[in-house]
Structure formats: C-alpha cells, structure tokens
C-alpha cells in the first residue's frame, strides 16, 4: 500500500511500485483496493485511459462519491477479497497453473483432441493417456487376436518408438491396447450370463456378481504384481495401465473356452482352455521379458546374476498366474 503521505498533495506520477503505462498500467495486484483519496483518483483515471482496455475514462467525482460511502467501501473490499480468493481457488484446483497457462493448455488440448475437456476431469481420469490405448483399428485387433491364440511364430516383440514415445497401437502390433481387454471383459460377463442361462441358473443379479468378482480378481492381480515389482526394485517403463492391458488379454482365451464348452461340452472346454492357457503363457513371457528383464537378458543372452534371476522368476510367476486364473474363473460355468 502506498503510504498516504507520500502521495498526498502531489499530482499522480507513476511510482516505482507501479507498472509503467506501457505494461498496460495496472495496479499492484496484491493491493486489495486502491487508495483513491483526494487527487489521486483523477490521475488514476487518466492513467487508465490509454491502456486500451475499452473502459470509459470516468471522471473523478462519481468514483470519489462512490468510495466515500463507507458501506460501499466495505462492500467493495469484501467483494474484491472474495474475488481474489476465488481466483486462488481456481488456480489451485486447475493443476496449479496460472490463468494464462491454464487457458493455453486447455486450448492446446482442445485443439489436439477436438473436444474441450476441462483439465479438472484430467485429474481423476487421465483421459489423454487413455486415448493412446484406444487408438486402434480393425487390422490391429485382428492381428492381436491372432497373436493371442498363436504367439509361437511371431519373431519381433519390441514396441517401436517414435521420439521417445511408444507408437500408437494402430501402427505396431506389439503395443498394448485397452480396447481388446475392455471388450473381452464385457463379453466374458455376457457369455457367463449366457452359460448360466442355458443351465437355468440365470438371474440378472448374477451378471452383476460375475462382473464384480472378475473385476476384483483383476484388481488383486494388478496390486500383487505392482507390489512384487516394487519389492524386487525393478526399473521398468511398465505403467499401471500397461499392466492392466496385459492382464486383460486372458479374458479372450476364457471366452473361447466357455463358448466351446457351451457347444461341445466338457471335452471341448478343456481342449480349448488348455490351448489358450499355453498361448497366453508364452505371450506373457515374451512380452514381459522385454519389459521387466534387463537389456542383455531380453536379447536372449543368458545372464547369470541374482538380480536377473529374480526378475526371471517374477516374469514366470506372472505368466503362470494367468492360466490358473483362467481356469478358476471359468470352471464353474461349464457343466
């Protein structure tokens, strides 16, 4: 705040604390309300004139009369403090950016995604990250499903990179995606309902029960693997969403098993489930090997070392858990 004495009786001049007119002549932002006693209001009005904001340069008297009234004075102080608090609140909640950066980032994202999603949603659900996993096309899905059922002939399991970011699933069949796991999960729930229906054990709440138990197992699996990765202190670029994607691929095999069980009975179920279990085991080992094991071991050179052995065991454990879960979640559906 300007000490009143320094400005009293002198014509208004831009002081050191003031931003000069060329910077649009704004007031000190931390000052709650302006010191408009006596002749200062006039000078202030004149200073605002050339700022080009479009405000009419009001004369001094209405301002002075307005501010002389104590009620409106207090009201203005209160209102302005409220406005400042509100602005702080918005700034805090909007990912810690200032106004301008917030607007800019939102604009960029809106341009990129074509849809204006406020960044507040981005805090809870990382929508832009999820979009990467859904950038698929029919050809990719076909090839990936083929890989899931027959991974034995595929040679190159590396994900291609483009300037430090992995390429979208559309362009590389090795990249994980979330479309197949999500659709497979929903299909699994519906097929389970169908299987129960053909055995006259169906009721709509059983669908919800199946869905929530499968989801609970998935969550448990993800947490267990994350915990073991943490304990083994592995430095991987395996994100949680990647892990969910990999663990969701087993639902495809489960659906195949249940459908064959519906059509051909227990023999068909065991045959197809056995085949799918083997395939998903090989698929997981070959995919996770590249992500969890160290560089040398991933290229097939056997490296002896306690750390790498531990990682190898971890990969084998994760891959072995898949067939077990596949059997556990489907055997009660096929009679």
């Amino acid at each position: 705040m300007h000490p009143a004495g320094s400005a009293a009786g002198t014509p208004r001049q831009p002081s050191k604390r003031r931003i000069p007119v060329s910077h649009l002549g704004m007031a000190d932002p931390h000052q709650l309300f302006d010191d408009t006693s006596s002749a200062q209001s006039q000078g202030y009005g004149a200073q605002r004139g050339p700022s080009g904001l479009g405000y009419p340069t009001a004369s001094a008297s209405p301002q002075a009369a307005f501010l002389a009234d104590p009620v409106s004075n207090m009201a203005m102080a209160y209102g302005s403090s409220l406005a400042a608090q509100g602005k702080e609140l918005v700034d805090k909640n909007v990912s810690g950016l200032g106004w301008w950066e917030w607007g800019e980032s939102w604009g960029h994202e809106a341009r990129a995604s074509g849809r204006a999603l406020p960044p507040q949603i981005d805090r809870f659900i990382p929508v832009t990250k999820l979009k990467y996993y859904f950038a698929v096309d029919t050809l990719y899905v076909g090839k990936k499903l083929g890989l899931l059922f027959f991974p034995y002939l595929h040679q190159d399991w590396e994900v291609q990179y483009q300037q430090d970011t992995p390429v979208a699933p559309r362009f590389d069949v090795n990249a994980p995606d979330l479309y197949i796991p999500a659709m497979a999960f929903i299909t699994y729930v519906l097929v389970a309902g169908l299987a129960l229906g053909t055995q006259d054990r169906f009721s709509p709440d059983l669908l919800g029960l199946q869905a929530s138990s499968a989801l609970a197992w998935l969550t448990l699996e993800v947490l267990a693997i994350l915990l073991s990765l943490y304990l083994v202190t592995v430095n991987t670029d395996l994100t949680t969403i990647d892990l969910v994607a990999f663990l969701g691929y087993k639902y495809v095999g489960m659906i195949g098993g249940i459908l064959m069980g519906l059509l051909f009975g227990k023999i068909g179920y065991y045959l197809v489930l056995g085949w799918c279990c083997m395939s998903i085991f090989v698929f997981m080992i070959r995919t996770l090997r590249l992500k969890i094991l160290a560089e040398a071991a991933a290229e097939g050179v056997p490296v002896r070392g306690a750390r790498n052995q531990l990682r190898m065991y971890l990969t084998m454990a994760v891959a072995a858990a898949q067939p077990l879960l596949m059997y556990w979640l489907t055997f009660h559906l096929v009679r």
């Binding site: 340069t57 302005s80 979009k131 096309d137 229906g197």
Partner: protein, 215 residues
C-alpha cells in the same frame, strides 16, 4: 489480456461501465413500462410454429429412419448434428409395447440396459475418436437403430424364437442394428478403419435386447 482483466477487479469495480449515480439505500425509478401489448396480436403471429419450437422435425426423423432401414445406403454425416431424442423415445416405448404384447413386462430392464449401454458407448466413442461426441448424439443414434429390434420382438409375439429359425433371425437382426449404428457413428465422427470395432459393442448391446425378446 485475460490475466490483466482478472487480476484487476478493483479497477473494474471502480470504473463500471455505467457510473453509479444514485444513492445506496434509495431505489431509483429507472424502469419505464412500455406500452402494454395485446396478448394476441402481432406477437402471436410472429411466434415460430410449435413443432419447430420444440425441435421436432418430422422430415429429419423420417430421413434418419430411412437411413437405419437401408443398411447398405451410405449415411450422411451431417444428419446427426442435431440430437433428437423424440424418435428414440418413441422407438423405446414401441419396443416395450411389443414386449408387453408377448407377455413380458420388462420396461425396467429396457430402460436400465439402454442407459448403461449408452453410457458405455459414450465413453468408448469419446476415447476412440479424434473429435468427441456428446451423450445426446450417442443416445439418439442408438435409439434410432433399435427399430429393427422392434421387428424382432413383434415376431416373438406370434412365433417363438427359440428354434433354429429364431436364432438365425435374431443373429441377422442384431447384425442389421449394429451395422447401421456403426455406419452412422463412423460417418458422423470420421473414424476410419474402425467400423467393425464400433459395431462390436453395439452388437453386444443389441444382443442383450435380443436376449430380453427371446427369453
């Protein structure tokens, strides 16, 4: 520009657009009542017609219905610009009515499944497409493509669908519904090479409707 406007509310308050000239506690008589207009006079004729005001455009509804009924015709992407929920409402009620004719009072299931299905499709399409899509648009498209399912449930009134013929007919109608829904979504959202990917979740949704009709 934005920053200085926000950071300077005081100036904005000190210099309002219109300087305050009255007194704080005395209301000023600034309202001058205009000459009273007759209720039924010029204003009545100037009003738009009721249907236009409600947004129900029969021509567009008919066009969209024809697009659904001709699955092989190329869809025009711009027809889905206005989200119109009147047609889908009518189709849902007709579906429930035909189920009622077959002795199944399952309006609740129809409502619940369509709500969950629309929500799921909305999330999926927003994640898969470059441009986003609004919920009303998704609900509108899915509602319109429910029309062939009404044919199926009216068949179920007369014949039982649990034989081989019934299964083939059900599969065909599910395919028809999901194909036309995905066709409209693809053309409206300009998604390339993803028609089957969009058709599959639609097929799941209409499959559940078919389950209600059949069993």
């Amino acid at each position: 520009m934005i920053m200085e406007e926000v950071e300077d509310p005081i100036t904005k308050m000190i210099q309002p657009q219109q300087p305050y000239t009255g007194q704080i506690f005395q209301p000023t008589q600034t309202f001058t009542p205009t000459t009273p207009q007759p209720f039924y006079g010029n204003s009545f004729e100037d009003e738009p017609p009721l249907l236009e005001e409600l947004g129900i455009n029969f021509d567009h509804i008919w066009q969209k219905t024809l697009t659904v009924l001709h699955p092989l015709k190329v869809a025009d992407g711009s027809i889905m610009n206005e989200t119109d929920l009147a047609g889908p409402m009518v189709f849902c009620l007709a579906f429930g009515a035909t189920l009622l004719l077959a002795g199944k009072i399952q309006f609740g299931y129809v409502y619940g499944i369509s709500a969950i299905g629309c929500l799921g499709m909305f999330c999926l399409l927003n994640l898969m497409s470059m441009t986003g899509v609004s919920f009303g648009c998704v609900a509108s498209v899915l509602g319109y493509c429910l029309l062939p399912m009404i044919l199926l449930s009216s068949f179920a009134v007369i014949f039982s669908l649990q034989g081989m013929v019934g299964i083939i007919l059900t599969a065909g109608i599910i395919g028809w519904c999901s194909f036309s829904a995905s066709k409209i979504f693809i053309s409206a959202l300009a998604m390339e090479g993803q028609q089957l990917l969009v058709a599959y979740p639609c097929a799941l949704l209409y499959g559940v409707f078919a389950l209600i009709s059949v069993f």
